[in-house]
Every structure is written in C-alpha cells, then in structure tokens.
Amino acid sequence: MVTLLSAAICLPAAYAFARMSFPGRNILFFSFLAGHAFPKFGLLIAIAAIFLQLNLIGTFWGVVLIQLVGTLLFMIWIPVAAFQSVDRRMEEAARDVGASPLRVFWSITLPQAGPTIAAALLLSFVGTFYETEGAWLIGAPGIRTTPVLMISFINNQMVVQYGAVLSVILWVPSFIALMFARRVIGGGAFARGFGG
C-alpha cells in the first residue's frame, strides 16, 4: 500500500525534478534528505506530537503516512537519477515520429528508466515492510504491523518460538521480491531499459 502510494506520488515528482526547471527546485530536492539528517527516533516523536493533534495516532492512515515519509528519499532520488540518465534524443526521436509528450513518457522514458525505478520500488517495499519504530509509535495500540507484532512476541511471550516462526514467515515476502527483481532487473538492464 505504502509502496504503491509512494510510487503514485513520487514518480511524477521525480520526473519533474529530472526534466523541469522551476524556482526552488534544488532546495526542494535536497529537502527530501532532511528526514534522514536527524536521529530517527527524535524525529518520530516530533511527528507523533503532530499526529496526535491530527487524531492520526493509532490509525491505519497514520501508519501509512509515517512510512510514506520514510520512502521519499528512495522514491525521489533514485528515480530522478533514472529519468536524468534517459537519453533526451530518444525522447525527441519519439516526438519526431508522432508521439505526444505523455506517450513519450509512457512508451520511452518509463521503460528506459524502468529497471532503476524497480530497484527503488524494491528498496522502498523492503524498507517499509520491515519498518518498526514509526509503525509502533504511530500505530499503537490499535494498528500493529507484522514486524511490530514479531518484536512484541519476542519481548513479551514466554514461548520464544512464536517470534522465531514469525521471523521466518517475514523472510518470505522479501525473498519473493528479490527473486522477482533478479528476473526483471537482469544484468545490463539498468543500461538498456526493460526488454533490452
């Protein structure tokens, strides 16, 4: 959910950062680093205070929002580099044969940048899936993600095997994601784009 939402928001923004020039572009671009420039837990406490006022503590959307913030760096910075590395002449050649700007983005730019964006999505998914601090602080007590559940099992349950079983189960999604990535993002794909 978080990864999809992040892609929907960040990819158009990344394209704008890569291809357009607008006032405050650089400051805005570097601002996405800000979330990673401070001790994470301190930042989360500050955000939690804001979320408390907005009645987002203990809600599903509160957890989605806090995890979304964590993906911004991956989902903006990596796709920006991917879009910037797409040869503009390829895009111009597509315009030349009759493609509209939107069609050029869909048929040329996105497939060319695809493998790198897939890597960003993967990093974002794995990062979000195993994120615990934000999910615990904002989600508690109503919303608990699986890793949060696992930690509470390990810390609080007498039977430690519950936690062990859960950690094995948690390993499966990332393993599937990595296998998928291995197939889709084959050697050389970053240079040639999908299908190359």
Binding site: E92, A93, A94, R95, D96, G98, A99, G195
Partner: protein
C-alpha cells in the same frame, strides 16, 4: 513536391545569437548541407526545422504551410540523430513500427511498410534483432529507416555519420545519397565534415556565427570561396597575409603579381595550385617536410619569416627537407576586409 523555406530565422540563447537572420529555400528533392564549425548554429537551425527549438524570430514553412510553432509530432519532418537515438528496449521492428502504430495503420500495412524500408536500407530479416546486437552502421541504417518509414516531406540529418569510422562513413554516405535520390526526398543535412558535404550535397550552405557565409554548388564553393573563412574551411588552403605595393603581392620575398590597389591583403592558394621547383639560388621557401600519400605528395614549406605553406606534388621523391624551392602559384584569390577582391582564372 516538398519545399522547405526558412525566412529570416533567428535564435537567441540569452544574449548569444545562435542563428542570426538566416534564410534558405530547399527545393523539392534537393539535398542541402549545412556546413560549419562547432557553434556555427547549424544544429540549432536543424532543430528549429524539426520542432525541437523555437525560433526567436522568423518563420519556417513546408510547401507554403507555416510550421514555425508546431510541436515536433505535428510536423511532416523526419529526423536522424547523430547518436542514432534508437529505443534500446524495443527490437528493430518495434523501433520502425512505433510511428506507424501511432498513426493507427492496420497491422498488415505496418508489417509491409517495415519490411519494405528494411529492404531499402539493406537490413531485410533484421526486424527481430535487438538494437544493441547491431553494429554502428546497422544502427544508423535503422535510425534512417525509422524516419523514412513514415514518408516525411523533409528529411533532417544531424551529423548522422559522426560516430562511425572513416570507411563506414564513406560507404553509408553513398547509400544515403542513393536512397535520397531514389525517393526524391527533400533533405537538410548538418555536418562539420567538408568531405561529407562535398560528396553529398546539391548545395552547400557554409555557416559561421549563425550566419550564412556562402551558399552554392559544392564545386563552386570549393573553387570560388567567397570569404577567407570559407577558403580556409573548405579543403586545404594556404592563406598568406601580405601587402600589395605597385600591383605586386609580397610576403617575406614571396612575390606574386596582383592587380589590385595597394594595401594589406590575404592571398589564398590551394596546395594543388602551388607548383614547386628546386632552386638553390633564388628559392623563396625551405622544405620542412615531405609526406608521400602514394597517389600524391604533400610538401610543407617555411617562408623566411616562419610562415608555413603546403603544396601538393605528383612526385614527392623530387623534394627533401632543407631544400630551397621556388613557388609558382597557378591559381590565386585575394581577400581584403573579408571580401574577395581578386581571383585568377
């Protein structure tokens, strides 16, 4: 019938004038080369015709129809880029079919047209290949085919052979010329290679600082350069600064009768128009180096004041470094204030 007309087009980047009040008409089926050094504005001009840059002033029409402000996808032009710009995530067939699909042609028509154009560029059966499996020359042929398959009214070629080796470049330019003549397609070709321009063009436009220096048939531009810049840019030319006094040009003892008013002048002599004879007593220059190219030789000489001249000779073995030689120009031109003031026949 496709005529490209560029009328008083200018393009400014800030205060820099990339193209300055440029006008040109390319007639139906004609191949015109824009020739000039880097930064002369030739590529900017081509991009304005293709729709990738907007003129600051002026207008561009094709068959009388104004296209100056149209986006590239709405122009009846086809552009071949220097870097090929093939879509590496598509195979050759998909590269060629992309534009046809956008025009919503039936599948059978697309298959037929792609096969026809592949045959035209000598790549029949290559449709299924991925672009990175092709050689540089084959990639450039695909790039050309991608433009031709859409049957554009005007073909635009932006230094298409610049990334290829010399041998391949010569072969491909002949093929391009054949195809262009067979299809009778109006073509604007940008290059900084004078050989390419001389070999390909019906007409050459020599550009400098965004302006036209000379327009004309390749042989005329070569034999009768209108300015010292054109003289120096097209082919090899000895440009000798000197003074005319009493109808005689003089530069460090190298004297040539020249029937113009007294004053400073630039004498232009092609190496093939500068005969040499060994003369130990009355020599005007000293041979610096002799290069034997097999078919001919090139003799580099120094005037007493250090000025360097070149002469093309039939028998390079007759000359050796250190020899004193007499110079006998057989055809000269003279320029003053950037204008031609004399040409011998």
């Amino acid at each position: 019938m496709s005529v490209l007309k560029i009328d008083n087009v200018s393009k400014f980047f800030g205060t820099t004038r990339a193209v300055d009040d440029f006008s040109l008409t390319v007639e139906d089926g004609e191949l015109v080369c824009l020739l000039g050094p880097s930064g002369s504005g030739k590529s900017t001009l081509l991009r304005m015709v293709g729709g990738f840059a907007q003129p600051t002033a002026g207008s561009i029409t094709i068959d009388g129809e104004e296209i100056t402000r149209l986006p590239p996808e709405q122009r009846p032009t086809g552009m071949v880029f220097q870097s090929h710009a093939l879509w590496t995530h598509m195979n050759v067939f998909k590269n060629l079919a992309f534009g046809l699909k956008l025009r919503k042609l039936p599948k059978e028509d697309i298959d037929r047209k792609v096969e026809e154009v592949l045959e035209l560029v000598g790549l029949s059966g290559y449709g299924g290949r991925l672009t990175h499996q092709l050689s540089g020359g084959q990639q450039q042929r695909v790039a050309l085919a991608r433009s031709l398959v859409l049957e554009p009214k005007i073909l635009l070629l932006d230094e298409p052979f610049a990334s290829l080796d010399q041998h391949l470049r010569e072969r491909l330019r002949e093929e391009v010329r054949d195809i262009q003549q067979r299809l009778n397609i109006t073509t604007l070709f940008v290059t900084h290679g004078q050989d390419e321009a001389l070999a390909l063009a019906d007409r050459i436009v020599v550009m400098r600082d965004g302006k036209t220096e000379q327009v004309g048939r390749p042989d005329i531009v070569y034999r009768e350069p209108a300015t010292p810049f054109v003289a120096g840019f097209i082919g090899t030319m000895n440009l000798i600064e000197g003074d005319v006094s009493n109808k005689v040009f003089n530069r460090a003892g190298f004297q040539v009768p020249l029937d113009i008013a007294d004053g400073p002048v630039t004498l232009a002599v092609r190496p093939e128009s500068l005969d040499l004879s060994v003369d130990d007593k009355n020599g005007q220059a000293i041979v610096h180096r002799v290069t034997d190219y097999g078919t001919h030789g090139l003799v580099d000489m120094d005037l007493p004041d250090g000025g360097r001249l070149k002469s093309m000779v039939g028998h390079p073995d007759m000359f050796a470094s250190g020899q004193s030689v007499k110079l006998n120009p057989t055809a000269i031109a003279a320029y003053r204030d950037q204008k031609l003031v004399h040409r011998s026949q």
